[in-house]
Subunit: 341 residues, 4 copies
């Protein structure tokens, strides 16, 4: 079978990881990546010997790259011509502009959470609404927090039904290496409800979700603590079993030394994962408590890599590579090495 | 009327503020404070010209103080003899030992949250169970988080009845100037349910409380986000009104520039409050959301000073200075300058 | 003798402290402060009962203030008319614009470190070049790091002569309560030499200064570690004595519990200083080392308040209130309560 | 030629990286690693499928490991018997105890910076004193800061001669994932001179070194700013050339986006280095300044991995695999992929 040809626009924190993820898929081919300037990510690509072809998104500024000896394989437009589908991980707003190019050549595209919903036909999540993405031309993925959160809520919902959830999002304020944003010795409260709750309701309209987001001065993963009201009451052991059976959720224990978001970052590095990344969300066993019939727990969102699997699911749905949620996500999981622990 | 004579044991973060708070009460007299070593707090007392008499808690080590030229007015035992009641703000565990001394002289005492419940006859909160403290010999105060939390929950409970609450405690991990504890670029999850929830249930046994605590690397105030199930549903405007009418709760707005815990710290400094302290908890107007009939909001706990008013309430109850919650807390509030904003 | 009438433009971190500092001077009168919007600082002024009259710097937006019930006593122009001299602590660049107003009414003004040097006739430091400011119309103060640094270097220079200095500036990246800037888990290196070294050389042209500045994610004070080459070699004890004799330098000891910048912040709060501020720089005794004939030490800059004394010195020089450096700084020190410790 | 057989005791932050580093050497064989408990590092080893054999350092507690299904290949003593040389990366003090075991079997060992100097015959640095380690039985490596610092100082010393250096060490206070130590919103000053300067002088007794160390609340690399007095004055361009020619020093530019220690961590992750590690120290081009004839610059120490190359050099020296500094370090560099950039 012919491999699906994929291009990545925007080679930043997400774009790099999308490219790596696609490159791991046995049934896809990464044609190349596009960016504008010799960022650290592009310089690292160069130092590694250009494992991926680089296209310039601003042909008039190609000199920025070539002046540093970084080989350029063509323009973003050249890349678009070669692919079946684009993953657009450019800065918020740029994707909408790029869409014109994708439309010009009749190519499908997957946009990230920063773009407006209107850029896409379907607001997509691999586990929650795979089938909605089947054959779609333009899909938008949920942001990192929402992607991870929906994994957990969808997992409970399919088992016992979820009516509503009220959550606290303890957000990491920057990624490791970010110098353009930051917070120093301060917690910052956002206007509630946070957009993640609204996004969850767009994807899962049968659930009422609300919550408060608080930014914290750390870089290694968000922690969300949802209080979940289920249709059938669910116990702690039952919840653990559900989550354990999910290939994109990792149950961890404080008693084992997983003390917080930074432990998971360290563990992923020690696993030898590329960039020390983790695709799975994690749930702390000792955090699970009951409040009346509701259940509450703490989950960790590795913000840099968590959206990669669902992005690849989106390619599978859009290209009709697999026609069901089960087959689509299973294929992604297989190639990414995600399995039940 | 004779002023009630009060001593403070332990002149640390809490002890200093207890002394200042007592000194402001028109119907109390601060006899003195006791400590062991020339800590920064004691050195500052000295540099200020000894506004409070200092007693040594370890007579055999008084030289530590006098060698630095810090005048010592006697021993802790001397202090105990002079007072009607002691506020014990020593390190966890020391209070239990000091209790023998208090008993020896038949003096009442108020212990802090770090001591075991068994040290006291009553686990006390000025607003939630003032009457239980009336005439009691040994009272233990709730810790900073629990003290502030109970203010809010008790306020709602008296208005519309609270059935249960599930909360997230985003805890500041150290105080400004702490070098003996800290966290760097990490969130730390605690075993749930957190002790604050258990303590709340001890004080308010008719409410079911649970929750998850996450430590964060900041120093200027905890933020708690309780989801509250009330007997009668309560709306956002109603909640704002309730909290506005409470002299120890301050309603604040993101729109006014109160962006998080650090804004409140800055504001208290700009108010000219001693040490930049704030006695009130704060609730962000824009954080209030409804989840079904439940209500959720974000509140700020200024951990260094929040327990001072309730400690002074405890003196009033133990000494029967005022016989009702309303009168007792009103007297404290008057002398501390706490009023409805 | 008639008191000198002073106005303050810009009621932010520095402006508030300038107003407080002027209000303490027995021979000055604080006429009022000017600002634009109901910032937290202005709201705190209001909550305190308007101890200072407030003027609006943008008459067309006075409604921003009055709508919140904050009384406005007139415009910035009205304020300028009433004063002898303005302290301009507005955001960088605004001072240059305000200067037109000051010129229109023939009023002197003192600008802060953020303005360009060209705004002023004299780049001023109370201890290093007081006499240059005598009678000057427009003075610019050094920034916080430079002000504190020059205190130390000038002190050594007058005693034994300084030839050159190479320093490392470990800079706090934001003030407590800042949400508009920050750094999270990162050190940031600046292009060397840092502007502080260049500024030092402008004020003290006989000294060669260079150095590297590194931003750190903390809020409680910069730490500078200059390596100083003196004309006559100076020993550790000698240096301690020099600094001890300086009313704006505080010698502290690690052994006493002054472990870093946060200890000094805590100590200033415990001293009961307004806003927990400290005017003095501090030098750690145990940090002093010799490198050949050079001497090296670590000094702490309390960035929010350190420039206040030298600003007041500037008023004294510009208004010829005292004609010598010794008399001018002594008057400032007396009213601010700064003394040899 | 027979490969040299190496064992690693202590599979923590350093031990893991030593094992990985040895495994990359074509002329060495990693026999196995020893540890005590199922730490995160050991659990990751298990999850990866035990690429290295694990030996228990406390046979009586082997159950801690086997109860979790982690296969144990024997005891530390068994490991020692099988190897030619041990790398001991246990906690400070344990190495001295382990030495008895190494002596019992007549095996050589390399200890880390945390051990006392007396544990070893030679205090070793691959570039500074390789020949001293030739055939030695017990070597101790310098700590992370000192190892990186000596690379730079030795490089200058061999080119133009170094007389003395006065440095500021801006130290990261914890590693990513550390929960047992930390600092929150505080800089901490150490008693000067710091041990790194003393260690440098032990290795390079002809140089006078001193300096001040300040701890900062970050995790991604120390930054050192030495002021270096050379025998022959050295210019900025010359220094850049020297450092560029050193395979363990990387020259970087602020202008390229390397803004601080966190940029280097990000870049190493983007390079795909295992664990996102970097073996090289980095020097910022724009940080280099002249102070009279002295030269000053800022260098970055990636504290988790920087000592690995010099540890492997130590094996080469102790086992006389290569007889000169040039050949020994060149072999290490080749297998670690370190080259002039």
């Amino acid at each position: 079978m012919r491999k699906v040809k994929v291009g990545v626009a925007g080679y930043g924190v997400i774009g790099q990881r999308l490219a790596d993820g696609v490159a791991l898929q046995g049934d896809m081919e990464l044609v190349g990546v596009a960016d504008v300037a010799p960022t650290l990510a592009v310089m690292a690509l160069h130092e590694k010997g250009m494992p991926y072809r680089l296209f310039t998104a601003m042909p008039e500024k190609a000199g920025l790259l070539t002046d540093k000896g970084i080989p350029v394989s063509g323009t973003l437009e050249d890349l678009v011509k070669e692919v079946d589908i684009m993953l657009d991980a450019t800065s918020a707003g740029v994707g909408a502009k790029n869409k014109e190019l994708y439309q010009k050549y009749g190519k499908k595209a997957v946009f990230q959470g920063g773009e407006k919903n209107s850029v896409a036909d379907v607001f997509f999540h691999g586990y929650a609404n795979y089938e909605k993405g089947l054959g779609a031309d333009y899909l938008k993925l949920t942001s990192c927090n929402t992607t991870g959160l929906i994994r957990a809520i969808d997992c409970i919902d399919r088992a016992v039904g979820v009516q509503r959830t009220a959550m606290t999002i303890i957000r990491r304020v920057a990624d490791p290496g970010d110098y353009h944003r930051g917070l120093t010795n301060a917690l910052e409260v956002e206007h509630a409800p946070s957009h993640q709750c609204l996004d969850l309701m767009t994807i899962m309209p049968h659930i009422a979700a609300t919550g408060i987001l608080v930014h914290t001065p750390v870089t290694h993963g968000h922690i969300i603590t949802p209080v979940v009201t289920t249709k059938t009451p669910v116990g702690k052991d039952e919840l653990i079993e559900m989550f354990r059976a999910h290939p994109r959720i990792r149950m961890v224990r404080l008693a084992d030394g997983f003390k917080g978001n930074a432990s998971l970052f360290r563990y992923a590095r020690d696993l030898g994962n590329p960039r020390g990344d983790m695709y799975e969300i994690a749930v702390w066993e000792e955090s699970i408590v009951k409040s009346g019939d509701d259940i509450m727990f703490a989950l960790n969102i590795p913000q840099e890599a968590v959206v990669i699997p669902e992005n690849i699911d989106a390619i599978r749905a859009a290209m009709k590579m697999q026609l069901t949620r089960e087959e689509g996500t299973a294929a992604t999981n297989k190639y990414l090495g995600m399995k039940v622990h």
